[in-house]
């Protein structure tokens, strides 16, 4: 199945054209050089030159000890837990933990602090007396949230990649079992009475193509360690922290409500996202979704939630809007009871709603994330991830009363500057979205989108992973953007933000950050990168030159032709027979294969829900590689190999 035509010009004109092309490429490369290889970035304060790989603390979560004396700060980039005196804010100790820590929780007795290390699939057990790691236990794939039961018998860990909650023996760390949770299981919260554990997840559960996303709150019986309920979250994709009132009657969870079924051009009219809370529990009856957004300013990317011990206020950190929103709980409850409840239980479309219960926006640092109350509820600690500070909010005045600096460098590197831009919604119309609205934690969102430039209802596109992008250009599914500065600059500014353009330096830093996003460890690779038998058989199929009938497979129709090189792309476009009626062209950029197992759905428009469906459903004519001669077990082998890429 030949899909390329090779020009064979072999005369003087051809040579001249080749020289011109080389010269052009050189000029083009020079033009892009600042963005792709920015000079070590000038310090904001003193113009000192910084190394490009400078490491920050990047505080993600905060926990206050049971006696209120200590503040534990999980620092993701420096891979440490920093311990502070909760009264004086004096640093006590820095405890190194594992790679890319993400979640943290105290045992019921307070003598242990558990930290999940998301990139090495372990749990660090810290003795809170000695402030030292006393054990490191293996858990599932990309452990994130963690909680310990009241009896001191079990630990529960949410695994983002394996989409489950691991149940561990609290004494030995031995895994007892795993419970099926939502896709991208990430955050765990225990009910105030300890009887239930609630798990949320950052990617939507699989659903039919171009239908509203579906998410859930997975409810676990703590004593039995089984899932007993799933609270449905309709139209939600991206669910983060959850909090309860002290009486257990009110639960609130921070979430994204994407509007991905309508063209993104509607940013001025109805937004690409609503950012909301779902409330549940006895205080509200059936779960109800309430917006955090306001008429002229959105609450882009809510993350952490905390309810004051006296239940007077509810606080939500808004990562993209760089603030904390304070909500009057009584007014909130009055709103949900006084207003006629929409049939679907959602007020997300009502931008006037939040005026009824949001009392103030408290500006904090860049990308605020985790949040925790002091024991008396008078102070609220907020981890400013891209500021390397902890904001201390006086809950009586709702103002920042103090800022605790961490030990990371104060100067801002180009990468950090770009990361701030990636996570900040300030460039977009009404502060609605940022890159991270769709690329959650610099990954993807599991959704398909209708982007305007291709025409309304045309060219539906799946959101791709953006890890380790260098060497995978061009970008966009139609291969229309030759480099990251084009992808992130004019395109984004014109079609996404509809508001403020980046200046050159901002764009260069953003591009640099995007190109520096590393690829997470591949969980399907064996240590030492050996292949299992199935993976080895799959590799042979991936690289085969003849089909099972001995017939040669044309070079251009072998897996290795398009999905060549280390990252699995030859960076060219082809028609692999997957064009839909809504597509303007069948010519599509060859996607990279890095961590392909994580990024369902597949194909340019997300129509294949699983890797299998790429070939069992969408390759009837063998245009997407010769596969129809394969038996089911051979196809399984091929997929096992692809998972290692």
């Amino acid at each position: 199945m030949r899909r390329l035509s090779w020009s064979r010009g072999d005369n003087g004109w051809g040579v001249a054209a080749a020289l011109l092309a080389v010269a052009g490429a050189l000029l083009f490369g020079l033009a892009l050089w600042p963005a792709l290889n920015p000079p070590a970035h000038a310090d904001e304060d003193d113009n000192a030159v910084l190394p490009r790989d400078i490491k920050y603390d990047s505080p993600l979560e905060v926990v206050v000890s049971h006696d209120g004396a200590r503040l534990y700060v999980l620092c993701q980039q420096s891979e440490t837990v920093r311990v502070f005196d909760a009264a004086s804010y004096a640093p006590i100790k820095t405890i190194p933990v594992g790679r890319v820590p993400r979640g943290m929780a105290l045992s019921a007795s307070g003598d242990r602090l558990y930290v999940t290390n998301s990139w090495e699939d372990t749990l660090s057990v810290i003795d809170t007396q000695t402030l030292a790691v006393v054990a490191t236990w293996n858990v599932g794939a990309e452990p994130s949230g963690v909680v310990a039961d009241r009896a001191g018998e079990r630990i529960f860990v949410a695994n983002r990649i394996s989409n489950d909650v691991a149940v561990l023996d609290a004494h030995t760390g031995v895994e007892e079992k795993r419970l099926l949770a939502g896709r991208g299981a990430s955050y765990l919260t225990m009910s105030p009475d300890g009887s239930r554990i609630y798990c949320t997840h950052v990617y939507p559960n699989p659903s039919p193509h171009r239908t509203e996303p579906e998410s859930e709150i997975t409810v676990i019986d703590t004593n039995r360690a089984v899932v007993i309920d799933r609270i449905p979250l309709h139209s939600i994709a991206g669910v983060f922290h959850l909090a309860f009132s002290a009486d257990g009657r009110l639960g609130a969870v921070a979430e994204y409500h994407p509007k991905n079924l309508v063209p993104l051009a509607h940013l001025e009219h109805s937004g690409a996202f609503a950012y909301t809370l779902t409330l549940f529990g006895e205080d509200v009856g059936k779960p109800v979704e309430v917006p955090l957004d306001e008429m002229e300013q959105y609450a882009s990317q809510p993350f952490g939630v905390a309810i004051a011990p006296d239940k007077s206020r509810l606080y939500v950190t808004i990562g993209g809007s760089e603030c904390v929103i304070a909500i009057d709980v009584q007014r909130l409850l009055h709103f949900v009871h006084a207003r006629p409840r929409p049939e679907d239980g959602s007020y997300a479309r009502d931008l006037s709603a939040s005026a009824n219960y949001v009392t103030t926006r408290i500006p904090v640092g860049h990308n605020p994330r985790g949040v925790s109350f002091s024991r008396d509820g008078r102070r609220l600690f907020v981890a400013n991830r891209l500021e390397d500070t902890i904001s201390v909010i006086d809950t009586r005045t709702n103002r920042v009363a103090a800022t605790i600096p961490l030990t990371g460098p104060h100067a801002i590197s180009a990468r950090r500057s770009g990361e701030r831009t990636f996570y900040s919604a300030r460039f977009s119309f009404q502060g609605q979205i940022s890159c991270s609205s769709c690329h959650i934690d610099s990954t993807f969102d599991g959704l398909t989108w209708d982007l305007e430039p291709d025409g309304f209802g045309r060219d539906i596109v799946d959101n791709r992973l953006i890890e380790d992008l260098r060497g995978t250009e061009p970008y966009k599914w139609n291969g229309g953007n030759p480099n990251i500065p084009t992808e992130c600059g004019p395109r984004t500014e014109k079609y996404f933000w509809r508001s403020e353009n980046y200046n050159d330096l901002t764009l260069a830093d953003l591009s640099f950050y995007v190109l520096q996003i590393p690829s997470r460890p591949n969980r399907w690779k064996l240590p030492g990168y050996e292949l299992t038998e199935a993976q080895r058989r799959g590799k042979a199929i991936f690289e085969r030159e003849v089909d099972k009938f001995g017939k040669p497979i044309p070079f251009t129709n072998r897996c290795v032709f398009c999905h060549s090189e280390k990252k699995g792309t030859n960076q060219r476009s082809f028609d692999v027979g997957t064009r839909k009626l809504t597509d303007n062209s069948g010519l599509l950029d060859t996607p990279q294969l890095l961590n392909i197992a994580l990024t369902a759905p597949y194909l340019h428009d997300g129509s294949a829900r699983t890797l299998e469906e790429i070939w069992t459903v969408f390759n009837p004519e063998d245009k997407h590689g010769r596969t129809n001669d394969l038996t089911k077990d051979e196809l399984n082998d091929l997929i096992e190999y692809l998972r290692t890429r």
Binding site: K177, R178, V219, V226, E612, E613, K632, D633
Partner: protein
């Protein structure tokens, strides 16, 4: 008055007969059909999970809980309306349902379905399923397979990598040591979890319908169901049933045991000695020595129970209830009660009187 005397005489006669016969479990059967909430009378499979009873029917997966039926259908995500087999993951409470259109995982209301198109499942017709640790073992119309819940990897077992001749796998029973497959036309396959080796048990008489060597191997190649309990293999075929202790075979035929029929749809061992047999002519129980058969009479449909002792003497026991139909497809246990899947409804056998074997078992505890 005459009627009362007649009944008294009947009961006395039954009592005398029962006194002479071995004491076997006596049940009062309550039957569920579409008339009282079941979505379909064709019940292929039944599964007990504490107080919850799952019934795999021709029109959905039904759950009986708190005296009410709830039905899951394809609208809820079930792979297919016809649910052929059920298995419980005792650690998590998840139920796995083998259907005519794929394999479904039911987890606290969430249904995730695997098909031959969207997953590595070998075939959409799933006759059997069994959960062992993090592995889900599946018997399909095109070989067997295993889903590793930790890695998501599917491993397929068929004629290319096992001694399987036919690939029509009807049943599976998995434990941490051994996994057994009932392969229609290919006997019983044994997979050793530690060594990764396969073994095969076949009928020494080959494909003949004659039993030349009765206890020298599996009774027949056309196997339908398998149950591995207490290191004992119980195997069902359409031509009699077998028990294998790792060294000796003991086979059961209708002509020389208490089996009501050689045509056995399913078998379920209670322990090393006792087992239940789901046949086309009634439900049979074997306590290691004696047999009992429970069914509506094949002649007049009236409730019937018979007991057969070790000498082959058959004694009727007077009963007023019976399973919903004599075509039995599945059974599961709920304490001392039984739940029975039949071709015309689901039956709940509520224990009225223990058998000698069960009483001795309790005493020995």
């Amino acid at each position: 008055m005459k009627k009362i005397v007649t009944i008294a005489l009947f009961l006395a006669a039954s009592g005398l007969a029962l006194a002479a016969a071995p004491r076997m479990p006596l049940y009062r059967f309550e039957n569920f059909t579409t008339a009282n909430g079941l979505p379909d009378n064709h019940v292929y499979s039944v599964l007990v999970d504490g107080d919850r009873i799952w019934a795999g029917t021709e029109n959905g997966l039904a759950l009986y809980e708190n005296h009410q039926w709830k039905t899951y259908t394809t609208k809820d995500g079930l792979a297919h309306r016809a649910v052929l087999s059920l298995a419980l993951d005792k650690r998590t409470g998840d139920v796995w349902a083998g259907t005519m259109g794929g394999l479904s995982r039911v987890s606290a209301g969430l249904i995730v379905s695997y098909t031959q198109l969207n997953s590595g499942l070998s075939n959409d017709v799933v006759y059997g399923v069994s959960v062992e640790g993090e592995n889900v073992w599946v018997a399909t119309a095109a070989g067997a397979c295993r889903l590793d819940l930790h890695t998501g990897q599917w491993s397929l077992y068929n004629e290319r990598n096992t001694p399987m001749v036919e690939i029509w796998v009807y049943g599976v029973s998995a434990t941490t040591s051994k996994v057994y497959f009932a392969v229609w036309g290919s006997g019983i396959l044994e997979y050793d979890q530690k060594t990764g080796r396969w073994d095969k048990y076949e009928d020494p008489d080959g494909e003949t319908e004659m039993v030349l060597f009765k206890d020298q191997g599996l009774i027949h190649e056309i196997t339908t169901s398998v149950s591995y309990v207490d290191n004992i293999l119980w195997a069902a075929t359409y031509f009699g049933d077998s028990r294998y202790d790792g060294r000796y075979w003991h086979n059961f035929l209708a002509k020389d045991s208490g089996l009501p029929s050689n045509f056995t749809n399913a078998i379920k061992g209670v322990d090393a000695k006792r087992a239940w047999f789901c046949t086309d002519k009634g439900l049979a129980y074997y306590d290691g020595v004696n047999w009992a058969v429970y069914r509506p009479s094949l002649k007049d449909g009236k409730p019937e129970m018979t007991v057969r002792d070790a000498q082959g003497k058959i004694t009727p026991v007077a009963v007023t209830t019976a399973p919903a139909h004599n075509y039995i497809l599945g059974i599961d246990f709920s304490g001392s009660d039984i739940w029975v899947a039949t071709a015309r409804g689901l039956s709940h056998g509520i224990l009225q009187q223990q058998g000698n074997s069960e009483m001795n078992k309790e005493k020995s505890r």
